[in-house]
Assembly symmetry: C2
Homo-oligomer: 231 residues x 2
Amino acid sequence: MVDHAPSAAGTAPEDALAAALSGDPGAPGAPGAPAGPASGDAVAAAARPRRSAATRAAILAAARDRFAADGYERATIRAIARDAGIDPSMVMRYYGNKAGLFAAASEIEVHAPDLTHVPRDEAAARLVRHFLERWECDETLTAMMRVGVTNEAGAERMRGVFAEQIEPVLAAVCPVPEEAPTRAALVASQILGMALCRYVLHVPPAVGLTHDEVVAWLAPTIQRYLTAEHP
Amino acid sequence: MVDHAPSAAGTAPEDALAAALSGDPGAPGAPGAPAGPASGDAVAAAARPRRSAATRAAILAAARDRFAADGYERATIRAIARDAGIDPSMVMRYYGNKAGLFAAASEIEVHAPDLTHVPRDEAAARLVRHFLERWECDETLTAMMRVGVTNEAGAERMRGVFAEQIEPVLAAVCPVPEEAPTRAALVASQILGMALCRYVLHVPPAVGLTHDEVVAWLAPTIQRYLTAEHP
DNA sequence: ACTGTAGGCCAACGGCCGTTGACATTCCAG
DNA sequence: CTGGAATGTCAACGGCCGTTGGCCTACAGT
């Protein structure tokens, strides 16, 4: 009778991740960032490069690699710290906790191209090629997919990226504005599906396609999702 | 001197999963399965329902739910056993270890429909509708996706399902046989992408589509991947 | 009635994890 | 030169995990 809600015991860590991904300012601020030398010149304080910048960057780079390779649960702070060549406690000092580190390592900028000044029948090809390059330039998107699939907070972040960075861009070329969300979701389903097969599951025939082949196959699909009349 | 390979300690769990998913017979056999009453009638021994069958089924059902909801790492044997109403050690007795349990819980049967006797222009719609229903009838496919994205052994299993259960079915309706793998991968990318958005990431516009709408949008895409000439 | 065996529970072990706090070192302002 | 903040190391804590082995119970064959 002592424990009245044992079934909810396992959800605490996930809450931490959710809070961190929501931009919750609850994380303990890194030393050196908030308070300057008190009476010193604010501009000088901001301009002086912190010696820790290199360490922070190394941690972030190692974290991106590990999260992309292993997902959130299997990527351990100890392993990330080892890759970065520092002590695990430094990760805590700079990013508060594991969730905060992931939130920092998974800041997503899709940089979807502006399609308003692209000929309508080239928009889809442009889009496909952009995402191929974006996906291969670093492993952030792979990491986001790994965590989004496993973790509800990660999924929420992906929905946010979709709503804030994908939908608006596609709405600009949608003939009927109120259909934009549906059409954007269809586009996302095809692009994410190809990324899943090619970069995460490594399905051989999907890996073997050249960029041009992927564009040639997918662009007509995307184009139809964008502009064809509602079936 | 007892333990001769201490350096490989960190990789053991993943290897165990890989071995289990490869159908490695190394797992300790469950009691009651291999040896009958020695001198008894073999038919009677096989027919007599083991009292443990219900427990085994309960474990498997709980495992499917947990793996689907949490992925491989976060789904704990303790939680699965609690859901099944038994002791964690029973899981070990029946399935050897966690990897063996997952291997048993993720036996995938896609049951892709035979398309050889379907009018060519209906094949795609039939396929899309089948996968919608298949995906919603239980959570096995969601579990497979969660693990396939996070775990290399899980990805290997998905590639196996693709090669053995998807590719052959689609090859039957492919005009050019040697293009079958590529076309099957394209089909898989669209179907898995929609499943990802709809059942895993829960992207709102994708969730809101009815079956008929999904079929209406996706079928032309699938049809083109199946039968349109190579672009 | 007796006994072997399958089914089940319990307590524990060793290990890895995230996290913490105390202590050493480097750097810079005064 | 000196004091304090920034940077970094080390060792440890508590917790949860997968896994193991011992012990108890119920039942079927003889």
